[in-house]
């Protein structure tokens, strides 16, 4: 089926602000896309303890970061679907890998992946998206996570698409008592990329750890919308985003910590660190804290600007050129997050992609 489609008003802020700022939501041009079943098998051999589940996702109405329209779009055009499950009490360290590639055979991918972890189980899923050089493709994903009591779900989503691709990742997660949702997203490629993650921390002591790195160069745009909804008592969220903008790239980050009444002793921390390297970049940020509970601790900190003069001076005093020092700083900023990617080859692929993009630069002004 050929589609010429734009997703309107996705990645909406949970509470809107001035329309003039254009940050309340975003539109994503999908363009011409032909959706046909994914022609190869992206799934690695399943480790022991993980199975493909015939059961429906435990919570069909799980809300996602980008919203219902983006979720319905993937379901309506699905080219790949998978439902993974771990059995109660089984903790699987070995990651399940899903490697997708956009090319002449698979120009448009709409993948819907459900991951459920039964009581006290643990699962790691690593999803990666790449494309052939110069290929213009589309990817839209819907990923839903359900962590039962004491379960841990690690989700790693690595997006290394070529510079003319359009991409979105729409994630919804639900955690029962003591459940942990641990997400790493790396938004490195694509012309236009959008990502939305909404996590409902439903059970007491459930938690979210969210680490994101982004890299913008050329006229790339990245649009993010993360929401941590604290429902249960003593729930915890940690959302940390760090990235670099070069050339004429743009980035929008919306991050919301939502303390719903009853989420007593919940703690939510959010931080954002943006390094800017070109006078033509645009960096937009809306870090929201919504709070209907007194016995909570919420904090947000953001810092945006050039590399600090002291840091630059320190590195240059050790013999690095300004350009080398800047490149080093970008890599240094990404390293703590990429080090957590549990797949050696993917880890190096991320760093190599960033280094490759940086190597072409003769100056960063």
């Amino acid at each position: 089926m050929t589609m010429n489609f734009a997703l309107k008003n996705v990645n909406a802020l949970p509470t809107p602000t001035w329309n003039r700022l254009g940050i309340n939501d975003t539109n994503l041009e999908v363009g011409d896309a032909v959706f046909a079943p994914y022609s190869s098998n992206p799934l690695s051999a399943l480790p022991d303890g993980v199975s493909v589940s015939p059961l429906p996702f435990p919570k069909a109405d799980t809300e996602t970061g980008m919203g219902r329209d983006a979720a319905d779009f993937v379901l309506a055009n699905r080219t790949y679907g998978l439902s993974l499950r771990t059995e109660a009490g089984i903790r699987v360290a070995e990651p399940v890998k899903l490697e997708f590639r956009l090319d002449g055979e698979n120009p448009a991918l709409a993948d819907a992946v459900d991951i459920s972890a039964e009581e006290n189980s643990e699962i790691t899923v690593v999803m990666s998206y790449r494309s052939d050089a110069g290929f213009t493709g589309f990817h839209g994903g819907l990923t839903r996570l359900y962590a039962e009591k004491g379960a841990v779900i690690h989700l790693v989503q690595v997006q290394l698409l070529g510079e003319t691709c359009t991409h979105f990742d729409n994630v919804g997660a639900f955690a029962e008592e003591g459940g942990t949702i641990d997400i790493i997203q790396t938004e490195i490629g694509g012309k236009a990329a959008a990502s939305g993650v909404k996590t409902r921390l439903d059970g007491e002591k459930s938690s979210l750890i969210m680490d994101t790195i982004y890299f913008g160069d050329g006229n790339r745009s990245v649009d993010m919308n993360y929401v941590a909804e604290h429902i249960g008592r003593k729930t915890k969220s940690e959302i940390h985003v760090t990235g670099a903008l070069l050339d004429e790239s743009e980035k929008t980050f919306r991050g919301t910590i939502d303390f719903v009444r009853g989420s007593k002793r919940a703690v939510g921390h959010e931080s954002e660190y943006n390094l800017l390297f070109s006078p033509k970049v645009r960096n937009r940020t809306a870090p929201l804290i919504l709070c209907a509970e007194d016995d909570v601790e919420g904090q947000h900190a953001a810092s945006t600007g050039k590399i600090g003069e002291n840091t630059l001076f320190y590195l240059m005093s050790r013999g690095l050129s300004e350009l080398e020092a800047k490149k080093l700083m970008i890599e240094a900023q990404f390293r703590p997050v990429t080090d957590r990617i549990p797949d050696e080859s993917l880890r190096s692929a991320v760093m190599e992609t960033v280094q490759g993009r940086l190597s072409g630069l003769e100056s960063m002004e």
Partner: protein, 470 residues
């Protein structure tokens, strides 16, 4: 429209029902008609340009929808607002000539006393009209003009300056309520400080809305010449009625090269007020605008003073506190546009929510592409005094070049048990310990205010806190 959980008191419906019959013809015409606006022009003896301006604003008002963000305005029915209440007295330059009932109100508010003690000039507005305006002789001699807006428009020497600036910084197209203001504005103050004149003691305008169901739409226009220096204080209050009152004032501040303007507001409207006020400053090269803003009253507030840093090295500082109690939904904050290189902004706000009150901190920091070398710092802290209240923080930053240093910090929480215990261990009761911590929380704002206002603010906090501790 965002539907937030709020504990807003219902407006007394029976009063509305009575008004329905009385004002049936108004309702059909949607409350505000070209005819009503034209009557305002007649009564004010508007010059032609102002007549046309009002009508144009009305047309814009009828086109613009209500905001689709922010607190609910459902309780506000424009067809039922009496937009223009003319008091029974002309403006005076002497308190003795102001009618007793009006004068007594201002006496109770301590305005004449404050004028004697610590102010360079005072303007007092009662409902729609300024009833008193006076400025000290020595300040007049410096060439400072401080008068009511109507007089300024009619004064042949001032008129060209007014016309050049009036609603140029805040055009009626900005949003619905400023369009309304353009159509029905009345009263307010005009201030001009000539170049290099420093006014050592503050000027003050006090706004009092007395009539039930009324609107107040005063316009404040302040123009500072190069290198001038002024502190302007604005105070607002109203008695509590069972019908919704509306305040849609507009403040335009022009700060020339190297000039400095401090604009302080303590707003304590009664808790049936819809306070939809628009304030904006344009700051030229090397100029500074400092906002000090305390929001304690109103049922609903939309208030975000905006600073446009147009000239290189211009600066803005915003210090604000918002305290929302029962039935209050106060949406406050600040906006700044860095439109020139090496500009600086610093926003520091505190909010306190209790008894089901809702505080929203809302802000925007924009740094335009050509505005390199800018610094901006935002720091907002919110205190929740119970689990029935609500506090939201909605800041936006839009940065369009790389040569910037932008920091943002937000914190939310309640008074720590350990801090209360520490104070109690030194003999202080729990209630006093909490009040002490809350007052301390607000101290950075209090110390920016003139001392009488700081005392008033601390009293307001103490008063609010008495009900907060069970």
């Amino acid at each position: 429209m965002d539907k937030k959980k709020t504990a807003v008191q219902d407006i007394d419906r029976t009063v509305y029902d009575i008004k329905d019959k009385v004002d049936a013809s108004y309702q059909v015409e949607g409350g505000l008609t070209p005819k009503i606006v034209s009557e305002i022009s007649d009564q004010k003896d508007d010059p032609v340009w102002m007549r046309e301006f009002r009508q144009k604003s009305l047309a814009i008002y009828n086109k613009i929808p209500e905001p689709n963000w922010g607190p609910s305005l459902d309780g506000l029915d424009m067809s039922r607002i009496i937009t223009y209440i003319r008091p029974k007295t002309p403006m005076r330059g002497n308190w003795a000539q102001v009618p007793d009932d009006i004068k007594n109100t201002f006496e109770r508010l301590g305005i004449p006393e404050a004028e004697r003690k610590s102010l360079a000039g005072v303007g007092a507005q009662y409902d729609s009209e300024i009833v008193y305006h006076n400025v000290r002789e020595e300040v007049k001699r410096q060439g400072v003009v401080y008068t009511d807006m109507e007089s300024a428009i009619r004064d042949p020497k001032l008129a060209p300056m007014v016309r050049k600036h009036f609603m140029k910084l805040v055009p009626p197209t900005d949003h619905k309520f400023v369009a309304l203001h353009g159509a029905v504005w009345s009263g307010g103050s005009f201030v001009y400080v000539p170049p290099h004149v420093k006014v050592d003691i503050p000027l003050q305008s006090y706004f009092r809305l007395n009539a039930p169901g009324a609107g107040q739409f005063e316009h404040t226009l302040i123009i500072l010449g190069e290198g001038a220096d002024l502190h302007f204080i604005e105070g607002c209050s109203a008695p509590k009625y069972n019908v919704a009152n509306l305040h849609a004032g507009c403040v335009e501040l022009y700060v020339a090269k190297n000039a400095r303007l401090r604009y302080s507001t303590i707003e304590n409207w009664s808790k049936n007020m819809y306070n939809l006020n628009t304030k904006r400053a344009l700051v030229e090269e090397g100029g500074t605008v400092e906002w000090v803003s305390g929001s304690f009253g109103s049922h609903v507030s939309y208030l975000y003073p905006m600073s446009i840093l147009k000239g290189e090295n211009s600066r803005m500082e915003f210090t604000g506190i918002t305290f929302a109690g029962k039935g209050q939904n106060l949406d406050t904050g600040a906006k700044v546009v860095h439109a020139a290189p090496h500009t600086y902004s610093n926003i520091n706000t505190k909010s306190i929510s209790k008894d089901g009150g809702v505080c929203t901190y809302r802000s925007s920091v924009e740094i335009l592409p050509e505005a390199y070398g800018c610094r901006s710092n935002v720091n907002c802290e919110s205190l929740m005094l119970d689990d029935q209240s609500r506090s939201d923080t909605i800041p936006v930053m839009d940065i369009r070049n790389d040569d910037v240093d932008v920091g943002h910090e937000a914190k939310i929480g309640r008074i720590s048990d350990d801090a209360i215990f520490y104070l109690m261990s030194r003999g202080i009761s729990e209630a006093d310990a909490k009040a002490m911590i809350v007052t301390g929380f607000a101290e950075p704002i209090a110390k920016e205010l003139p001392v009488e206002y700081a005392v008033e603010m601390n009293n307001l906090i103490k008063l609010e806190m008495e009900g907060a501790i069970g």
